[in-house]
Symmetry: C2
Subunit: 356 residues, 2 copies
């Protein structure tokens, strides 16, 4: 069944007012802010209908109405106006996205912090893989006779390194042999495919320096492993205390505890949203996690390239300014996609690309 225009107008007014004030709103106040030329009694009738239909709730018999999750849902789906970000806001975001280090982890972490600061809600950010990562390339750099640096590059063009110090001497030719060996034996393999058998064969081929194979390969496995179980970055948990719905310390604590279970967030919240485009809004009981049943989550996904995607989102009370938050989140997500999409460098000119 469809709601009349007037009912929608009232519902919308209730939602928007409640988002601002966090207080139940009554018929008289609505009469004023909706601008409808009807008496408060009429509005009361409408409110009664809306309550009956499940769009509104009454905290207690004689208080004003507040939106129910169903009411928020209708609002988000039909009534909400697309929020535009102000020029100032877009500038702020753009500036913040202009990060120094372009290390994947740091960028994601930073983006999360930024979003949290921007929205005043706790935020989280993570990257996830569509396919299983593999090693694309090994390089070994001799530092001195007793140490070398292993550099591994994944198929997603992520590069990691580790310094190894040895109790035994080693030589340049030895390292070169090892490098070739590693590159022929282990490139293109996923974590699972790096079997002990494979290792044994390669170790055999390595002759006297067989021990080094396993060292470098374990490192490579760590890298692959950390890419598969990508980290979740959370930021601004303290922001939940800003909002009156979490004045009750118990509630705040529960939500915070949930937010620090990073793996849970990754698995149950973020990953399902990986492939949806645009902002996704989960209101109160729409959340699977028990701890989020009376909070809301807004998510946006972004593209990292090379089969990787990321999700960035915020958590807050159901009374959330969905429009603004979704707009900001989408903007940041787009920004991230662009950031990862563009090559890292301007055409190599005489160097002053980095200014303060």
């Amino acid at each position: 069944m469809e709601l009349t225009e007037r009912k929608k107008k009232i519902l919308r007014a209730v939602v928007e007012r409640y988002i601002q004030t966090a207080e139940p709103i009554g018929s008289k106040a609505l009469q004023e802010i909706t601008g409808l030329n009807v008496s408060s009694a009429t509005i009361r009738n409408e409110l009664a209908d809306l309550t009956e239909l499940g769009y509104l709730e009454q905290p207690h018999t004689s208080a004003g109405r507040i939106p129910s999750p169903k009411g928020y849902r209708l609002y988000v789906n039909e009534l909400m106006e697309e929020q535009r970000l102000s020029l100032e806001e877009t500038k702020q975001i753009n500036d913040a996205l202009h990060l120094k280090m372009r290390e994947l982890d740091k960028v994601i972490d930073q983006a999360g912090r930024m979003v949290s600061q921007l929205t005043n809600y706790p935020a989280f950010a993570l990257a996830g893989n569509a396919r299983r990562p593999t090693i694309k390339r090994f390089d070994l750099i001799l530092v001195d006779s007793a140490s070398f640096i292993a550099v591994v590059m994944t198929d997603g063009n992520l590069v990691k390194n580790k310094l190894f110090r040895l109790p035994t001497d080693l030589s340049e030719p030895q390292l070169q042999l090892l490098t070739t060996l590693l590159n022929t034996a282990f490139v293109g393999k996923t974590l699972d495919q790096l079997t002990p058998e494979l290792m044994r064969v390669a170790e055999h081929a390595a002759g006297s320096s067989y021990g080094l194979i396993s060292l470098v390969v374990s490192f490579a496995m760590e890298v692959l492993d950390s890419m598969e179980n990508s980290a979740v970055y959370t930021a601004g948990a303290s922001h939940i205390l800003d909002h009156p719905e979490y004045q009750d310390v118990g509630k705040a604590q529960k939500l915070m505890a949930y937010l620090s279970e990073e793996q849970t967030i990754a698995q149950s919240l973020a990953l399902p949203a990986l492939n949806d485009d645009g902002a996704k809004i989960l209101i109160g009981p729409e959340n699977v996690a028990e701890e989020l049943k009376d909070s809301s989550v807004v998510l946006a996904s972004y593209d990292i390239g090379d089969g990787m995607k990321g999700v960035i989102g915020v958590v807050g009370p159901t009374r959330m300014d969905y429009g603004k938050v979704a707009a900001k989140l989408s903007y940041v997500a787009d920004g991230l996609s662009k950031l990862f999409g563009t090559p890292e460098l301007p055409p190599a000119g005489p160097g002053k690309e980095k200014e303060e």
Copy 2:
């Protein structure tokens, strides 16, 4: 003036009881737990003395006593028994310190989280430099005709890399020239010494690939910069809600806000403690920061080697179990020092050093 033994015994009982219960303690209860064979009236007299001397406080005229900061200080200095960690606890810490990745940042971050979890207080951890870092070595690895990896190693043996993609082609000999050039021109310089003039000279020497110099050097500068302004990792901020003294949301919020000002923590709290050994305890008003005037901080420093040290600490109410916390913190700090002190590798044997 010295306190009598009996006074000390009473003070100690007050502190320890209050640490457990967070509630003022009266003469009658003290009579029981101290085991002194005196009446509650006698104890009242002693309490009155201790209050007069400033070691105890009364929340209001007719409540029990609680320790004042001065009382805690005396307790910590003289009365507190060295806490021993249980075997279980040491095992727990040792296990946790057995980290997979030995990347400096991650280890520090992890250690902070661990301490927070171990103590139930918010924790922070950071590394600081005694001297200014320099670059020790550059390596450039050609990936394909349009991209290369720059690997820089600092004098502290920290290795960082970055993938560069170029719009122009480049060749192996070109890269080798660049590598030599970078190594001769920029090795051993601190951030400040990487002047534009130096750059210009090097760029000149690089001929056609002059643009690449500045790219790699800016990256090196970023690395140095990030080492000088080392990151602060905080963890477990939500734990402050566990403690009754922060039931008042306002207080909790203030402390949380302070905790997220990571730079302030670094500058004013942690760095001054860098060179003290063992655990350092700052009680209530002993803290410089206004926000910490009624909280306490326990700090321990650890050695990273190569002129770098780190600090790890927790923040909590003045009613903190200083003995336990200090013991745990010291143990973790020692563990970290050992971790960084030992070479990364066992003598290269046939590889099964990594098990699950």
